[in-house]
Symmetry: C2
Subunit: 411 residues, 2 copies
């Protein structure tokens, strides 16, 4: 394998994506087979524009690696660029080949979600056919937890920890006036409801909330739902509805408002306002006080309360990805395999990228009792280890301290 | 002084109001002059309905006191009931006198904001005139930090810590696509902008955000604002606007939508949607991508990341209030006096309640550079100690653990 490697990030931010980058850097800097670690700014789109910087020379030591692992958002920025097929745009692949030759890149690591794994798959197919020894390894991340072939995805556990903690806190807050109310909390998740479903853990704190967990996987039947909200308010005064942004009605339409929606490069509709709309529907129909809270960017960037399990695994995914490339593997995703729940243990294993790319893994509805908003034992055992522990975070003057790469000097 | 005391909570929740309750309980349980500690459920309104429970018998020891201090929302619930003047409703005061006689209450502690201090003032005036030896002490709390005669209010520091931390995290998140955007964050504060202004601390993390800090104290001039947003986007790609919910335009109108607004018992308009409205205005006028985030209940209930300084001071306010009553003081608020900034030290001191009640303390605009969204040295030195340190919080299975009183048995 050539001696340099390249890494980039893509898709949406999570509290753990930089932890995987940190793991890649740590493993690469330890190995005598790897010389330079380059970083592509703004994913594969930025790489095609030549936005590449040297990373390893900017890491002063272990504290920098830990600080990077505790930094939210994406230290290398992102893109939502869909790599065309080689048949359609051969020049794009030729450009990448030239670039990889010039920088003597032996392995490329792409940290991202479903769409990023599609990019990994295409690159791997192309380089294999071209008989280039460039190893392509995908590193999963997404708060949606909807990637196939991995027990869960880095970033999910931290988001779930934030969601469960915040919901317990705001439900306690909503009770103080003893006034009947419906409290709607909108949680990210366009097509998969894992994150919203994890809010079922709040019941373990002794609260009756959330009363409803509405997921993209299960169409919402408005009339029975409103009846049950009314009953819930009579019983518990405040009813909490945890809903995914992508909840659909039984006729297939989304709950979000049409206004201002846009479609991204992958054809996904950008949703907004689902919680607000459900809030207004409940208010109009039941006449009770309602409130909606959108967890928005807060839920995926809350590094101040990230899950220790999540950050530690995200680092291991990065380390494992480098180890796989050094072993000669390519066209694989460094997936997480759950070994045991008690004590919780997991391993990093390679899975063929063509199996992981573009598949969406849905939440198993049988883990949820939709009448009570509670998880089955299987669901609890799945979620609980993933939010465990508080990851180290760094502060200065009690304000967040984050790692930043200097991006001035392109290579 | 008679041997029992009564305590209740009023107004909006904060992460620190139960810490003051914990301080009252600790000091009262230590004193051989105090026997029973009663709690009124739902403030003075609940007390008038006879909703009173015994508190001290439910505290098992120091861990319960610490757990209570780390519990968000209000362990005794709240009300927004405005006590009428004795001339208007003498029966209300007679009812309270009878109740206090029956329970042998020697001192009443009311933890709350401006409106609660109004209640303390009225009760004190009445009992003094009636020559009843019932000592009335107010304990300040409000995330708005707008109470007069105290350097700051318990609850404010924790909310400010959450706001500054979250804004730094979401700004980092908003940068990842390198796409021009205006990011509006709506922060609580109807009439006073302290909490929104504290977001100026984010500049100390090295970020250029927030670019704008819009406060109720300064009317918003739309045209220059939009021009500056445009310039900010050209310079920094993502412009962050931190705005109080109570921001007014220069014609005196609020930015929030009219729809759904209601007026509470104190004549305050309940605002909503100011951030959304500003988001839409920017989008319409500048045509750029915009997003708004409302910190909603999250900002006042985030006990998982409360300020150690805040929680510790809130406990001392409670302890100090009991000490004041035991000294024979009445008609006072247990205020916080800042002794020094470096090292930060504060003391609890009594201030006459008639001076504190119903006055609103505004943020001094001269502490803010509105062109850059930065605080002056004086502003930084005021805010910084208040967010310092991470308060202890309790978890079980990595989920929040909160204290709850059993409210079944009324006295």
């Amino acid at each position: 394998m050539r001696r340099n490697i390249l890494v980039a990030q893509s898709g949406g931010p999570t509290a753990a994506i930089n932890a995987t980058l940190s793991g890649i850097l740590r493993e690469a800097m330890k190995s005598d087979k790897i010389d330079k670690v380059y970083g592509g700014i703004s994913g594969i789109a930025g790489i095609l524009e030549g936005k590449i910087i040297r990373l390893d020379s900017q890491i002063g030591g272990e504290e920098d690696l830990e600080l990077l692992a505790a930094t939210p958002a994406m230290a290398l920025s992102s893109c939502r660029y869909k790599l065309p097929m080689p048949e359609v745009a051969p020049d794009v692949y030729r450009q990448l080949t030239t670039l990889f030759d010039r920088l003597e890149i032996g392995a490329f690591f792409y940290i991202g979600g479903n769409d990023s794994m599609d990019t990994v798959n295409k690159l791997n197919t192309y380089f294999k056919r071209a008989e280039e020894d460039i190893r392509i390894v995908g590193c999963p991340k997404t708060i949606d937890n909807d990637l196939a072939c991995t027990d869960h995805t880095p970033g999910f556990g931290s988001a779930a920890k934030y969601v469960a903690t915040s919901l317990a806190e705001v439900y306690a807050d909503s009770l103080v006036y003893g006034r009947p109310m419906a409290l709607v909390v909108e949680i990210m998740g366009r097509d998969a409801g894992w994150l919203t479903a994890s809010s079922g853990l709040v019941h373990m704190t002794g609260l009756p909330a959330p009363h409803f967990i509405l997921l993209p996987e299960a169409p919402l039947e408005i009339e029975p739902f409103l009846r049950q909200v009314k009953e819930g308010i009579e019983r518990d005064t405040v009813v909490m509805v945890a809903m995914s942004e992508g909840v659909r009605l039984s006729d297939g339409s989304y709950l979000q408002s049409e206004e201002g929606n846009s479609v991204d490069a992958f054809g996904h509709v950008a949703l907004s306002g689902a919680g607000k709309n459900l809030e207004q529907l409940i208010k109009r129909r039941l006449g009770c006080k309602t409130r909606s809270i959108e967890l928005s960017l807060l839920q995926r960037s809350a590094s101040h309360y990230a899950s220790a399990t999540d950050i530690e695994e995200a680092v291991r995914v990065g380390e494992g990805a480098v180890a796989l490339a050094l072993e000669g593997q390519t066209g694989v995703m460094a997936a997480i395999r759950r070994v045991s729940n008690d004590p919780y243990r997991s391993e990093i294993e390679p899975v063929p990228i063509e199996k992981a790319a573009n598949a969406v893994r849905h939440f198993p509805l049988e883990w949820l009792n939709s009448e009570t908003g509670t998880l089955t034992r299987e669901g609890i055992e799945y979620f609980l280890p993933l939010i465990r522990g508080e990851a180290k975070h760094f502060t200065q003057n009690s304000l967040p301290r984050h790692f930043r790469f200097d991006r001035e000097e392109l290579v």
